[in-house]
């Protein structure tokens, strides 16, 4: 029996939480009814792993089968690990008409040409996103299935999301992607997060944005939940204003969950009380990181409660506006690094 296959299966079962194991195995559908019945999911993982390994021998599963199972699990539970967004640039004329079949063929063939011993698996998700699992090898060794890269892309959009991609693998993947999607270039979108759905929703604008509108302002209705007509809020108008500006900057309702925002400062030190530092020629290098379980929600609350001044500073509102959470701030204003 394949040792690498066993290791892969062991690792995978260890990774999948017990509650998800039954659902994922059922979805995979490779266990016979009898085998399904024989699995007792209340037992500890160690026992389940042993059971599955023996079923594996029975059914003569290969690495291919196990990677299938892994892909099903990751596709249904994408909000783990660290995802980075890439942006495709300068589309060719025929890029809007690239279809699924074309993309799949082109990607596999181009990647196969640049990387030896690469194992590529592609699957389309219900939301029309193409999921690609890449197990990298090189001239000397076969594909390493224990450290696969996952790539997610929706055709006719300029964004690609990747996880577990090393700096060595990045240019190879980039090359294959631009050739398959018929774009000329790809760059870092400077957006990363643990939740794939959040960074995707942010870039695809799949959250409720707020715009100034003549015909209805639903936000003012929210702040007017008058419980007692005898009580008048002193600063009701300014509170409503702040709320409106906060929502215009960040959005309304559920916001995509980002975990951090990083600002790399390359600006000159400015403090009249500290002459030594201010007199220095070089910029004061410093990195500011905001971290939260739901960064955009906390920033919105800062603005609507008055902790952060309104109108919201472009440094903060650039996060949803530009869809980035990594900024390099120079004295000319906030920009983004081109990595």
């Amino acid at each position: 029996m394949d040792d690498p296959m066993k290791r892969l299966l062991q690792r995978l079962i260890r990774r999948i939480p017990s509650q998800m194991l039954k659902i994922t195995l059922d979805k995979w559908g490779r266990l016979t009814a009898a085998q399904q019945r024989s699995m007792d999911f209340t037992q500890p993982k160690r026992v389940l792993t042993e059971k599955l390994l023996s079923i594996c021998e029975e059914n003569e599963w290969t690495v291919k089968h196990v990677t299938e199972l892994e892909m099903i699990y990751i596709m249904d539970n994408p909000n783990q690990g660290m995802w980075n967004a890439l942006q495709l640039m300068d589309p060719e004329d025929d890029s809007p008409s690239v279809n699924l079949m074309q993309f799949k063929e082109q990607f596999k063939s181009h990647l196969g040409e640049i990387v030896r011993h690469v194992s590529v698996k592609m699957k389309k998700h219900t939301d029309e996103a193409i999921w690609i699992r890449i197990a990298w090898g090189d001239g000397f060794s076969r594909s390493n299935h224990l450290k696969p890269t996952y790539v997610v892309h929706q055709l006719q959009t300029p964004y690609v999301f990747v996880t577990s991609l090393t700096s060595k693998q990045k240019p190879l993947l980039s090359q294959a992607l631009i050739l398959a999607t018929r774009y000329q270039n790809i760059k870092d979108a400077n957006l990363s997060g643990q939740k794939l759905t959040a960074i995707r929703d942010l870039l695809m604008r799949q959250y409720q944005q707020v715009f100034p509108n003549k015909y209805h302002s639903p936000l003012t209705e929210k702040t007017q939940t008058v419980l007692n007509t005898q009580i008048e809020r002193e600063q009701a108008e300014s509170a409503a204003n702040r709320c409106q500006m906060a929502c215009e900057a960040f959005g309304d309702g559920m916001l995509p969950q980002l975990q951090s925002a990083v600002y790399k400062l390359e600006t000159k030190f400015r403090d009249p009380a500290n002459k030594t530092m201010t007199e220095r020629e070089e910029p004061f290098r410093c990195v500011v990181k905001f971290a939260s379980t739901n960064l955009l929600e906390s920033l919105r609350q800062c603005a609507s409660s008055g902790v952060a001044s309104t109108p919201v500073t472009p440094l903060l509102s650039s996060i949803p506006l530009k869809g980035k959470n990594y900024f390099v701030v120079t004295d000319n204003g906030p920009g983004s690094s081109q990595k």
Partner: protein, 286 residues
């Protein structure tokens, strides 16, 4: 008891005497109050009368303006007085406001000023077959050049190239019209896909994409129970109907049969969810 009674009576009389002293003053102040009230009411009445007068003049001006618009005559110059010019301006203002409101009601785009006139916000409504769908918005900075600073248009609509090609800087109407075309067509195609999934469970959607420019459906033939693959390409993103329809099946002669030629025409000329209804009625598909 009797002492209380007498003392009580005395204090009552005292109070009465006191109140009698102040009463005439009270009466005087009351009269003053009422006189002031009368003045206020007279001023209010005069104000209301003036407003009614202005309103009636405006109505007359509006009617003559609306008539002039349809007759395409030159405007008459009545009195050159400041007052009449101002009233004419007000009438024109109400005319424009009504026009904008009508434009909004028919699903055209709304535009409002933002940030004290430094920018505008355009709202484009989309609709298909009488159903209002999504609303898209653009915030545009006016100076130094027109620049789109914020929007909720999905990234697969080529906003920047539309702006360039329709010369947004010089002809914003052309830009908004083209953008509205793209958005309405996209919303229409998306809505058709939604209806196909809801109304035609026997037809399987094999492939589609976020732009809804590609649709691959699988039909089942009612009698033979075999499958026919149908590919719809919507390469013109400003239209809701496909630019190309093709069929694939094991029976190579099928696409040439008169039945399927009819199906081809249906799919090219009618929205897909409606075409499928007709195809089912004709017994061509299950």
């Amino acid at each position: 008891m009797s002492a209380k009674g007498v003392l009580g009576h005395l204090s009552l009389l005292e109070v009465q005497a006191r109140s009698l002293k102040t009463q005439p003053q009270q009466q005087q102040s009351r009269v003053k109050e009422l006189k002031v009230k009368v003045e206020e009411l007279i001023t209010q009445r005069d104000q209301l009368r003036a407003e009614i007068q202005t309103h009636q003049t405006l109505q007359k001006l509006r009617t003559s303006m609306d008539k002039q618009c349809t007759d395409e005559e030159d405007e008459e110059m009545n009195e050159d007085s400041e007052n009449s010019q101002f009233l004419r301006l007000m009438a024109r203002h109400t005319q424009l406001k009504d026009l904008l409101h009508a434009h909004h009601l028919i699903g055209g785009y709304d535009i409002i000023k933002t940030r004290q006139g430094k920018g505008v916000c355009v709202s484009l409504a989309t609709a298909y077959e009488g159903t209002y769908l999504d609303m898209f918005n653009l915030e545009i900075d006016l100076k130094p050049t027109l620049r789109i600073c914020r929007h909720n248009i999905p990234p697969f609509i080529p906003l920047n190239s539309i702006a360039e090609q329709s010369n947004m800087q010089t002809d914003i109407r052309a830009f908004l019209d083209t953008l509205s075309q793209h958005l309405n067509a996209f919303a229409g195609r998306k809505h058709q896909l939604k209806l196909v999934k809801e109304l035609h469970k026997s037809v399987e959607v094999m492939e589609s994409n976020v732009l809804c420019s590609v649709l691959v459906l699988m039909f089942t033939l009612p009698r033979e129970k075999t499958a026919v693959l149908c590919m719809l390409d919507y390469t013109d993103h400003t239209r809701c109907l496909p630019t190309r329809v093709s069929f694939e099946s094991e029976d190579k002669k099928l696409p040439e049969s008169p039945q399927w030629k009819k199906n081809y025409n249906l799919l090219m000329e009618t929205p897909v969810h409606k075409a499928l209804i007709t195809m089912k009625k004709m017994g061509n598909i299950a």
